[in-house]
């Protein structure tokens, strides 16, 4: 059973529906360690993707490319741009496919992670969204069953948040907060948790 356009649309819909719930949470988390706009970024980005959802082609690569472009259409926030870079990397990888096997998912997450690292110049272990992606890639490695992958990804984002909560931030605006960032969730990692939960169809 491969993942196809309708699976993508379902994931988009679930995440979009959750945005009102996450709006304040993400703004507040980003407010503590940055400029307080991450809820806005995610809400806008998902609204733009939702606006093009009916036009998404069957070709999953082209569909991801379109999502990537839509996500950054109106804003160039760090997170939005990093997400777009990741989606574009995935798009390149699956261009021409109308379905993706669950077993391919780990590699796609890894490809997104690597591209984000290349352009964002952050280190793995620096308490950014990279660490969430890295955790997902590692936890889901070798899995073939979609339900197993979902569970593992959800566990991964939660564990990553817990593992980095008490480390200091090193990148982006949060870096400025140094020691004060200890004990606080990285907003981008928190956003990735919400993304993964929604894609996996779990409620937060």
């Amino acid at each position: 059973m491969g993942l196809d356009r309708s699976a993508l649309l379902g994931a988009i819909e679930r995440l979009h529906e959750k945005m009102p719930t996450h709006f304040d949470t993400l703004n507040a988390a980003d407010g503590k360690l940055g400029d307080g706009d991450l809820g806005i970024t995610m809400t806008r980005g998902m609204a733009e993707i939702t606006a093009v959802r009916d036009d998404l082609p069957e070709d999953l690569g082209l569909a991801m490319l379109k999502c990537s472009q839509a996500f950054t259409k109106s804003s160039g926030s760090s997170y939005g741009t990093l997400m777009a870079l990741g989606m574009m990397a995935i798009a390149k990888q699956i261009k021409g496919q109308t379905a993706v096997e669950p077993s391919e998912l780990t590699a796609l997450v890894a490809v997104a992670r690597d591209q984000i690292q290349t352009r964002g110049k952050a280190e793995i272990g620096g308490k950014t969204v990279l660490d969430s992606l890295d955790a997902i890639a590692k936890q889901t490695m070798g899995m073939v069953d979609l339900e197993d992958i979902r569970t593992a990804a959800v566990v991964a984002v939660d564990e990553a948040l817990a593992a980095f909560r008490d480390k200091p931030a090193t990148m982006g605006r949060a870096r400025m907060f140094g020691e004060k960032s200890i004990g606080l969730d990285d907003p981008g990692m928190l956003a990735m948790k919400f993304i993964v939960y929604a894609i996996a169809g779990r409620s937060v």
């Binding site: 706009d37 160039g76 926030s77 760090s78 741009t81 352009r119 982006g172 605006r173 400025m176």
Partner: protein
């Protein structure tokens, strides 16, 4: 949220519409995004283009400084957030007159990611781009890590000097070198008295007690060096000048410009009160003040507070600083 607006979502688009409607002799919107502002008149073929970009909410920064002897185009994002790479690419395309384009902007992660991506995009148009990042905020990293510092009001000096060099017909390499020299010559520090509200967030970006100030706070509310009770104007100015002068020492014979900048709500009356001590501190080093800038040059909407930017001049920079320029917010 006590702001005059129609809807938070339309804040920037309506602001830009009003800006170009009020000053059609200076500005026009370029491209489809509605978020790229270019000079009203097409540029001169062969002139180096200068573009900048960044979040809205800092007028006259960024858009306001598009004008003669200043910038050619600007991509502007939502309040306090980066424009998209596609918008930046549009700005670069509009600024290009065949002589290449300098990307001159503040050192913020989102802006860098997007301006880099924009560079990839305009490679297809065969436009040569260079980059100079402003890193003038001394509160944001120690001198050893000065490349990590944020860009704040120092960019106004860089816009001015690079803009004058480009107007003067210099080539991309020379204009880029001037911009880099200007960026290297500026040091800024700010103090915040009250927050501002990002329209889409709807509540103040940070909380600060009614009798407290934060020294070194960033223009988006990034944390500073200390938070404490409000002090006198002289005490505030003295500390800020000491910190600046520790970072960029001056000696007799040096020539400097100084910007005493309101972050928004702080009225010019208070800037002039501060200026007395600023001037005394500079003159105590033996330096001569050239063209002090006192006013609102780089703001955060209705934030109360001030920033000082010290710009050490050499003959070349002084000539470029005092050369004519013309936009809706500043004329020399």
């Amino acid at each position: 949220m006590k702001k005059i607006l129609n809807s938070a979502a339309d804040y920037v688009d309506e602001m830009l519409a009003g800006l170009v409607a009020a000053h059609p002799e200076y500005y026009r919107l370029h491209g489809d995004s509605g978020k790229v502002v270019a000079r009203a008149r097409e540029g001169t073929r062969g002139k180096v283009g200068i573009v900048t970009g960044g979040g809205s909410g800092h007028l006259p920064v960024f858009t306001g400084y598009v004008g003669g002897g200043l910038l050619d185009a600007c991509a502007i994002g939502d309040v306090f957030s980066s424009p998209s790479a596609e918008q930046m690419a549009d700005a670069i395309r509009s600024a290009d007159q065949g002589a290449g384009v300098l990307r001159l902007y503040g050192n913020y992660g989102g802006d860098i990611l997007n301006f880099d991506m924009a560079g990839d995009l305009v490679e297809f148009d065969e436009i040569t781009c260079t980059t100079v990042l402003l890193t003038d905020d001394i509160a944001s990293a120690p001198p050893e890590e000065h490349e990590k510092r944020r860009g704040v009001a120092g960019m106004v000096y860089a816009f001015k000097m690079a803009g004058a060099a480009a107007e003067d017909g210099r080539d991309l390499e020379a204009v880029t070198a001037i911009a880099q020299k200007a960026a290297d010559s500026c040091r800024s520090i700010g103090v915040a008295l009250s927050s501002c509200t990002v329209p889409q967030a709807g509540k103040p970006t940070f909380e600060i007690a009614d009798d407290e100030i934060e020294m070194g706070m960033g223009i988006h509310g990034e944390p500073g060096i200390w938070r404490g009770k409000l002090r006198t104007a002289d005490e505030i100015a003295t500390e800020m000048m000491e910190r600046l002068l520790a970072d960029i020492p001056l000696a007799g014979g040096d020539r400097v410009s100084i910007m005493v900048n309101s972050l928004g709500a702080t009225p010019p009356e208070e800037l002039y009160i501060l200026y007395n001590e600023v001037k005394a501190a500079l003159e105590a080093t033996g330096a001569t003040i050239v063209m002090p800038l006192v006013g609102r040059y780089a703001t955060s909407m209705e934030m109360a507070g001030v920033s000082f930017t010290l710009c050490k001049l050499d003959e070349e920079l002084e000539t470029l600083l005092t050369a004519p320029c013309d936009c809706a917010f500043w004329r020399v």
